[in-house]
């Protein structure tokens, strides 16, 4: 049974819409056998599952190759985010990546956001989403549910990030 078929079986058994699931693949895994990755990603997308490329910026980061995959998003690696906003070269790479990804219809997620200055830089270049200790550390399933309810309106995260960090 292929991966897409196996996931489909589980989604049906648990009565979970495919649109709620996103699968992340690493850049190196995607480019190792690009032909196979193209087929596998297509099969997942045909079911309605989102697919993103993780660790973007750690390998050769060839969007020219990755554009052959039916991706929905790319995730910019924490090592690049950590260099923001003070390193102009890293900032230029992240900015260009966001622009190019948007032109390809992809969403961009920044990983490992830890400071307000990093968030400010990401905001100024229209990065779509972020994750990291500035917002919250990893939580158990129960605590995540509570966190998501509390922050549904979102405002407090940006106005009181330090407080949320202590959760």
């Amino acid at each position: 049974m292929g991966l897409a078929e196996a996931i489909d079986t589980k989604l049906r058994r648990h009565r979970v819409p495919a649109t709620l699931l996103e699968i992340e693949i690493t850049e190196s895994a995607a480019t190792k056998d690009l032909g196979l990755a193209v087929k596998s990603v297509r099969a997942l997308r045909d079911l309605g599952i989102k697919v993103s490329v993780d660790d973007f910026g750690t390998g050769y980061s060839n969007l020219g190759q990755l554009q052959r995959l039916a991706l929905t998003a790319i995730k910019i690696d924490r090592s690049l985010v950590a260099s923001l906003p003070d390193c102009p070269r890293a900032a230029a790479i992240v900015h260009a990546t966001v622009n190019l990804a948007h032109r390809l219809g992809l969403k961009v997620v920044a990983e490992g956001v830890e400071t307000r200055a990093q968030l400010g830089a990401l905001r100024s270049i229209q990065c779509d989403e972020a994750q990291g200790f500035l917002f919250c550390k990893p939580l158990s399933a129960e605590r995540f549910l509570a966190w998501a309810r509390t922050h549904r309106s979102g405002d407090r995260i940006l106005t009181h990030p330090v407080r949320e960090r202590a959760l």
Binding site: L3, E24, S52, P138, S140, L145, A148, R149, R152, G154
Partner: protein
């Protein structure tokens, strides 16, 4: 990264096989937010191995699992667990965001 068959990784491999049967894993969720609203849009599911005697970080056991083929049952476990949590969250009336599962399905 090349994983050499050291005593360390051999020991992890033996323990990993038992851990799958003993259900020593769980998922943690790293929230994702929209910029600039800060609204929760989902979470990345992170696999944790609660090995007796201390938890093992993913960067230590995932490469071993990839090398010895255990990544397939582990991927299966992660997706099953993610589906179970998504179902549970929607039954609890949450505005269910998408969950991103860790996965190395093409190795």
């Amino acid at each position: 990264m090349e994983v050499r068959p050291t005593a360390f990784s051999a020991s992890i491999e033996a323990d990993l096989r038992r851990a799958i049967d003993r259900n020593e894993f769980d998922l943690q969720f790293q929230p994702k937010v929209a910029i600039p609203s800060g609204r929760p849009v989902g979470a990345e599911a992170l696999l944790r191995w609660n090995r007796p005697g201390g938890s093992v970080p993913p960067e230590q056991f995932i490469p071993v699992a990839e090398k010895c083929g255990l990544i397939l049952p582990l991927t299966d476990w992660v997706i099953e667990a993610a589906c179970r949590h998504l179902r549970s969250w929607s039954e609890n009336g949450a505005l269910v965001p998408p969950v991103a599962s860790i996965s190395r399905p093409w190795c």
